[in-house]
Point group: D2
Chain length 358, copies 4
């Protein structure tokens, strides 16, 4: 019953540890006849290696994806697509002193309780590095749904309390360009500068910062989502909450609906469709054709240089300072992971809906 | 690929529409030999019919559960447990005028787009009434995990902006008693009175109110949750976001972690275990043995008496006033549904973990 | 991980025991908009109550199906279809003396070992009566695939060593009519008479007889089946071997291929397609568009009047004579069950293929 | 809904084409803490390269397995185990002339109809070479169930009509040794010699031969199998019928039960348990603790040197002679594949049963 497979028609199984030989995934259920090569996947992996020196480690992750099966003469064949990303530059020796200690905020303790044994090198399977497989699979899903007119874009909404202003209405492609050219994937350059400064300051303190990622889906057809347990909102919440760092997920107006009245939250309709989008593009768990709007709240990276109290694996009290190469803020890395997860959900549900179309 | 089954070991399939013959569920995977009769299930169904006249409709839902299979001489046999709740007092004629109109905030539009046909009587499958099946199944799950020492309690944290004070540390059973004796399932009687007043006021306005439900899990063993796609937090987020009214889900410190530093969010450990519980009992998607703490943000009931702009099913503009018997606030009904969904997730993961225990 | 659900798009969950309140099933994933009422299902249930007095018990099973959900104004709505068949005329008292003994050839022993407890009334869940749920679900599947031009027909090929001659090439509808008007579902009336005589003779001996059912699928489009683990032949083998009485399954030329040469077994092709059909309509696990031909070998009913040696549930030797009302030969009852199972597999795979059609 | 994953607790996903970069599998759900390295898997892969020159091609398949994840310091960690077998010596150019023709008896036609595109090099995914992934995964499953006392042994029962005599009762380990030292995995050396002669004769004719594999499971505990759709016999039938060459599956007395009486087929019991084993170790879909006995009937290799009539991919009549390196008889290769598939089913069901043990 292990949980390394997601999706039911577009089905992805991932594998790999932070400091193992390689990481990868198997995609089963991608329709045959879709043009695909490694160059369709590589850009997403490259975006996962953010260029913001303020936020991120300098670990030289090369992350070259290879397609081992499922593609012939440049097209998918309908058989499983196996993707592999070999690990390079993984200095596991730098983790030797973490072998028998539980790092606060990490999965060390819970993995130990669950499995009894644990690959302690860089967090093993619990490492954020695991998400390279998701990003690779997500790029294939994205190619599939892009052909159906669905666009998915994630961007940084807040880092450590510094938040962007409401997003101005500009054409989607322009907005996407604006986001992707920024080192923090923040659509507002000025706010991004303030974020970089805050990150630099927190780095000096030996601490780390959390943040908020927003995901916008445009062009999703109405009718996707499978009540009552695989509703679109439930599927998206699962996909996003399952990213290591996420502690809250909002859809549409999110938390704020709890203190509003029905007359404020309901979206009226007129001849042109919905007049507003408090619902975030999903009603009763099924897409309405409006934009889907999601927000995830990410905790700060738990690996910090400051002294922390913890215990060894036998319960003996310890104090720990985590050196090594670590990000200060996970947000720029999480942006492409959020995109990938949303693409996986949409690809799966888009195919599921095709199966039963009246 | 329809989504009416949840769980992989403790697996529940629900069925039924608001104004059909009956609603029910099939539970497959409940271990054999557990004492079970209808009296184990009925109290949860009764709690779903809240006594707060301020919040709720007076529709006389009787909701008697019958066990049709899977139990012999008072014990589960390991075969599927079929539960049925017959519909009574369902005046579908009062919905006749909603047959060809999309009610704002409801699933009418999205169901129509997905399926082409739609049972318009009281929302059909999209009705909140569908949750009786979940509550019935959840009661069986609860019985299973209670035997394993796991307690699940949901309660009202806020209604329409009126929020309880931080929950005082009293013994769990006392707290549970305090919650369940209150008509709004609110642990603070004084705050509950203010909520009732607000509800009465909003009822006069012809409007409705949202709110926040908090769920506390005590006694959950460490080690439950299946990375990387069926993590405990992902599974809970899916289960809760899939409740019709929920627009946001938080775990532990939730949204607030996004503006905090790592040194604030990490939970240190000492000889006695974790020193605090910012994580909400889940690290890297696996339970730690601490309390699991969840919050869901619910939108106001979309059926309001105020005039709303909408369209007919052919896109013709209409104005609509929804009369009929409707709740003003969904929260007291959602409390037992949240409990049920969390019990279903925990029962499933507890059995899953048994399969692979080293 | 209990196994009472089958199919992945057209998904059926069955429940119910021989002498419980009722039996039934939930069908999830039937496309919306299909005309359906109880009269579409009832004839299949009626065929499961064979008219051959020679073969069968006189237990007055009424087996009226009710549709409890998923159909509105005569059409499927895309939501779960719940079917129920109430038990009537179930004299469980006649099983009282079987409470603490293992009947040879039955599931009494294995159920006891698996579950620890057991509903001993008429075999409980292990009773052949469980198949009413399958037949009901199969009738819905049949309606779906019939609209796609696929016909499924099962018939009696042999009973107790008496076998029909090779089936003559007559129009499918005529053949179907010929089969269904015979009390043993045997296409050859003369052979059927010999079978009836053999059955009468064996009844007198207090013994029972096995037989062979053949299933013919006509009009199945090419391309159904999902390598490498859900191939069409694998799915059909599972569906048929899972019928209580079946001990062998053949596809196409079946067992006989093992002693043949490649030049005999390969099916050549010419301008008009395949020149013969040794493969039975399936190549590499995928349908070819030819007739699918299957045969199942059924063991004799284990309940016999003759004295048998067995043990009580505590291992104490016993001798047993099973009186009560029992069939002499399961074949006429198994014919509609085979049809149902094949329809379920085909409906599921037909929808699965739609999801990924290039 | 593609079907490249099998199992529900011990879950295996395979990937790879005959002439692609590599083949492999991901095993998800193997319990943590089991000792495992490549040397546990390699012998099974080696057995798949039979030493009988009479039966098999001389293609120098090296088939070295690498473990890429899920194992740390020699033990499984509970995370996905990724296995890879690189393709070597795969001369795809020798298939160039098969690019646009449908080989009789192969999956060329059905794959073309299903997917529209097709990797024609050596059969692509439809090649028997795909089974290396199954054999690798099966070796891990075997290690798991061996620790639980379950032994699985497959052997050659017949080739081209030449059949072994009834297997003498010798100790299991001796029997296993006898089977494995024979180039055809035939327990009777004299019969094996006759088979070799027949194979040599058929090779000269440019033809090929089918055969029968028998599988014996010893030590399987009672209680495995999940009625009513994942019964042990159904699961085994699916696993075995899904092997490319198999056209019939028998359990216990198999086909012969159809012409017998109940008094002959029922297995009586006495103080020491079952007195015989007509059932083949499975009653009502659940194991009884007796030996499980299975037989599969395999068609001759479809690639033969003789001239065959077929068509090109556009329906144009062609005659074809398949040269290249091809086996004459698939049986020695299928023996380890049958073992692997049975091990996979048993490992999965053994873990499933642990989840719900009373």
């Amino acid at each position: 019953m292990a949980g390394n497979t997601t999706g039911s028609v577009f089905r992805v199984t991932t594998w790999g540890e932070s400091h193992g030989e390689a990481l990868g995934c198997v995609i089963d259920g991608c329709p045959a006849g879709m043009a695909l090569d490694a160059a369709d996947i590589q850009p997403a992996l490259d975006r996962r290696r953010p260029s913001s020196a303020a936020a991120s480690t300098t670990r030289g992750e090369t992350d070259r994806v290879e397609i081992l099966s499922g593609v012939f003469e440049g097209k998918t064949t309908g058989t499983p697509i196996s993707l592999i990303i070999r690990n390079a530059d993984a200095k596991s020796s730098s983790y030797d002193d973490l072998k028998d200690v539980f790092r606060p905020g990490h999965g060390d303790y819970s993995y130990d309780k669950k499995y009894g044994v644990r690959d302690w090198r860089g967090g093993g399977r619990a490492s954020g590095r695991e998400t390279v497989s998701r990003v690779a699979a997500g790029a294939v899903a994205e190619k599939l749904i892009t052909a159906a007119g669905i666009d998915v874009l994630a961007y940084t909404r807040a880092i450590g309390g510094i938040e962007i202003n409401p997003v101005a209405m500009i054409p989607f492609e322009d907005f996407k360009h604006q986001v992707r050219r920024n080192a923090l994937y923040c659509p507002d350059g000025q706010v991004a500068t303030a974020m970089e400064e805050e990150l630099a300051s927190v780095r000096k303190q030996g601490d780390s910062l959390g943040g908020v990622v927003e995901i916008l889906v445009r062009g999703c057809p109405a009718g996707l989502g499978e009540p009552v347990f695989d509703k679109m909102d439930a599927a998206l919440a699962s996909a996003l909450m399952g990213i290591g760092t996420v502690k809250a997920v909002e859809i549409g107006d999110g938390c704020s609906v709890a203190s509003k009245k029905g007359s404020q939250v309901n979206d009226p309709m007129d001849r042109d469709g919905f007049c507003k989008n408090s619902a975030g593009g999903i009603l009763a768990g099924i897409t309405t054709g409006q934009d889907i709007l999601l927000r995830v709240y990410c905790k700060p990276i738990p690996s910090i240089a400051l002294v922390q109290q913890t215990t060894g694996i036998h319960g003996d009290p310890r104090s720990i300072e985590i050196s090594g190469r670590h990000d200060i803020c996970v947000i720029p890395r999480i942006v492409p992971v959020c995109e990938a997860m949303v693409c996986l959900v949409l690809a799966d549900h888009w195919l599921r809906q095709r199966a039963v179309l009246p």
